[in-house]
């Protein structure tokens, strides 16, 4: 497991890794316009991490995918989501303060990329949370299963 798979899988992974991550970021970014959103895009990015884990094993894990960094980023995503929810607490919890406000995300054109009020920001927060959460679950389980196999 730690040595990874064959050279074909590793080469294909090198090509497709960045493409999958960019596609996941696209799905998160356009979550308020097209099908998708934070959950789906985060799952796509986490699938790229899973592909890298399967292809390269846990040997190449030390630098690129640090588990502690991933868990810190997950908490950053959760706190950003809660903070955006609390931002509208003057009216109601989860009130959309930026929609129709005329500021940066508050335009009146629903087809523009910078629209939707706090929705794009919440998409990024939840996307960060989901991608780092699933990636850290995968890394923990792979490390645990490898310890099991070597015993």
């Amino acid at each position: 497991m730690s040595s990874g798979m064959s050279v074909i899988v590793r080469t294909v992974t090198r090509f497709t890794y960045a493409l999958i991550i960019v596609f996941g970021f696209y799905v998160i970014m356009h979550g308020h316009l097209t099908p998708g959103g934070g959950f789906q895009g985060g799952a796509v990015v986490a699938s790229a991490f899973a592909l890298a884990l399967v292809a390269f094993g846990t040997a190449g894990l030390k630098g690129a995918l640090n588990r502690h960094l991933l868990q810190s980023l997950e908490e950053v995503g959760a706190l950003a989501f809660l903070g955006l929810a609390f931002a509208g607490v003057g009216t109601a919890f989860f009130y959309n303060i930026l929609a129709n406000s005329g500021s940066v995300f508050g335009g009146s054109d629903p087809a523009a990329l910078a629209s939707g009020g706090v929705l794009p920001l919440m998409n990024w927060a939840v996307g960060l949370k989901v991608m780092t959460g699933i990636a850290s679950i995968l890394i923990i389980m792979v490390i645990g299963a490898r310890k099991e196999a070597t015993e």
């Binding site: 097209t34 099908p35 389980m141 099991e148």
Partner: protein, 116 residues
Amino acid sequence: MTLGQVPFVVSALLVVIGLYALLFKRNLIKMVIGVSIIETGVNLFLVTVGYRAGGQAPIYTYSDPTTLRVLPTPQALTLTSIVIGLATTALLLSFVVFIHRHYQTLDAEKIKELKG
């Protein structure tokens, strides 16, 4: 039963298949797969309940604004349900790894006997 209820029957059958795996299989990983199949059946049921005949997806980008739309709320709740299903599956599989490390077996009956 008419042809109109076939999607509901399919989701009910998925739940029944998952229940079968939960009740009559002794391997713990097969029981986790049964829980996953039940989740799939429930998700399919939720999406099916929100369907409106001839409706399109509730997304206005590049589509006719006057067309009929499918109900958005069941789809949103299905999204929530899918992520919760993933979390529960991950937790159940970690429990299975833990149980296998502790008892050296995955047979539910044997684990019950070992527990005493």
